[in-house]
Point group: C2
Chain length 232, copies 2
DNA sequence: CCGGTTATAATGTATAGACATATATTGCGC
DNA sequence: GCGCAATATATGTCTATACATTATAACCGG
């Protein structure tokens, strides 16, 4: 392991193990370079990395301190459904229910960004694995931002996959909750209204431009999000 | 803005905007240092940062290429419930239902790590906001790893908050799903059995040592997880 | 044409030094 | 004492250089 990596790992270990508490001062670069017998750049690289990871806070003249334990933050993988289902060894299918080009309506409960985006492509469909419905999806796509999507064929590929391949987003926001199945779409999932579903609403942007809003309902038990955080 | 920051931002922008596609080759450090008229270290710093963020892949001799678009990965904040509810301006309370020291049982459906951890502290309780129940929680804590928790007073503080303050974890795994309320605890939340709930199961480790497993059920609509990813 | 060896091009790591910048501390004048 | 200016300290940025490492590419013998 490289020296700067070793330094980083050692300090990281002291923080994660609690030996160094939030607010505690970390030795200055000069002290560390004496301790490890290396140049300042090497120490600096280690500390800068930890600072970037949010474990340390560095201020000129004041020195380096352990960052306050943040709101527990973990990395959440939001997989492409088609890929995820294929990985389980099941046959993925997206079944289009409806496709509509129209202006936003009040009952869509859109956010400001999309409500003022002009014409929208509104797509509804069901994701299924081995012909078992897994999730119902409603999606609004700004035609101002993505005019070329009118040519996409959603009987082959889900709108999500299409967007993922064609329009990189730069910013996204997910809201994750639970909800009882609504009569309007419960039948699409072969479940009784009121059955528990995992609800995911995602908005994406490219720069300042709103791209899409999607609301997905997963039958309880059919799908789980897994978030993992930690070393290694 | 520092030069290495500018370089990083410019390349990042080209990736996020799609100008540079996954697999595309990024100019070599030599070319970039000619382009920006700076030293190699400066270019390297920018590229190393982007590599650390997962946007680039660097290989000796082969050069630097744009990383394949990963499974969409976003940062998920898992707030301390007490803090989160306080932020909403509501009064947080944890009501202890039961507290038990006993060995693991098969019906606990624990993972290997905890099942073999020896004695466990088993705690059940309800989180409430303004005396409205929000979440039901079952938690198993390894007494081997955290013997001092027997002295904690959970009528004052939830086990989660106590652990957060006393035992830093180094690794954690969350599973997020939806589930219909089980009769055993539906009444605790003042809801009918079968009502949709958001289910979170979290395991934490400190090093190789299993610390705790917690299962929380949130009444649908009372709580949402928000994950945000992007620049700035 | 195949397979192994060698050369080479890229990144990886590290050094020593210079100057810039922000800020906590000190001390001075009042 | 109080407020402002000077000073010292720690980090931030950057350069120029050196050598290490590694995967690709080129070469060459059989």
């Amino acid at each position: 392991m490289a020296l700067h990596d070793r330094i980083r790992t050692e300090i990281e270990g002291q923080i994660l193990s609690g030996t160094l508490q939030p607010g505690d001062k970390v030795p200055s670069e000069l002290e560390l370079m004496a301790h490890y017998g290396c140049s300042r750049m090497t120490v600096s690289k280690a500390l800068t990395a930890l600072s970037g990871a949010g474990l340390l806070q560095r201020r000129k003249r004041a020195g380096t301190v352990v960052a306050p334990r943040p709101t527990e933050t973990m990395v959440l993988d939001v997989p492409d459904l088609a890929v995820e289902i294929a990985r389980r060894g099941q046959a993925y299918r997206f079944q289009l229910i409806g496709r509509d080009i129209r202006p936003p309506r009040p009952e869509d409960e859109l956010d400001e960004g999309l409500a003022r985006a002009g014409l929208l492509l509104f797509v509804r469909g069901v994701h299924s694995a081995d012909d078992e419905p897994i999730a119902y999806e409603e999606r609004f796509i700004s035609l101002t931002a993505v005019p070329e999507i009118t040519e996409a064929d959603f009987s082959v590929e889900s709108p999500g996959s299409w967007l993922l391949r064609h329009i990189p987003w730069t910013e996204a926001e997910n809201r994750i909750g639970a909800v009882g199945a609504h009569p309007d779409w419960a039948a699409r999932l072969n479940i009784a209204p009121g059955t528990a579903c995992l609800s995911i609403e995602r908005k994406t942007w490219r720069g300042d431009e709103r791209i899409t809003l999607v609301r997905q309902k997963f039958v309880a038990g059919s799908f789980e999000l897994v978030a993992r955080f930690g070393a290694a």
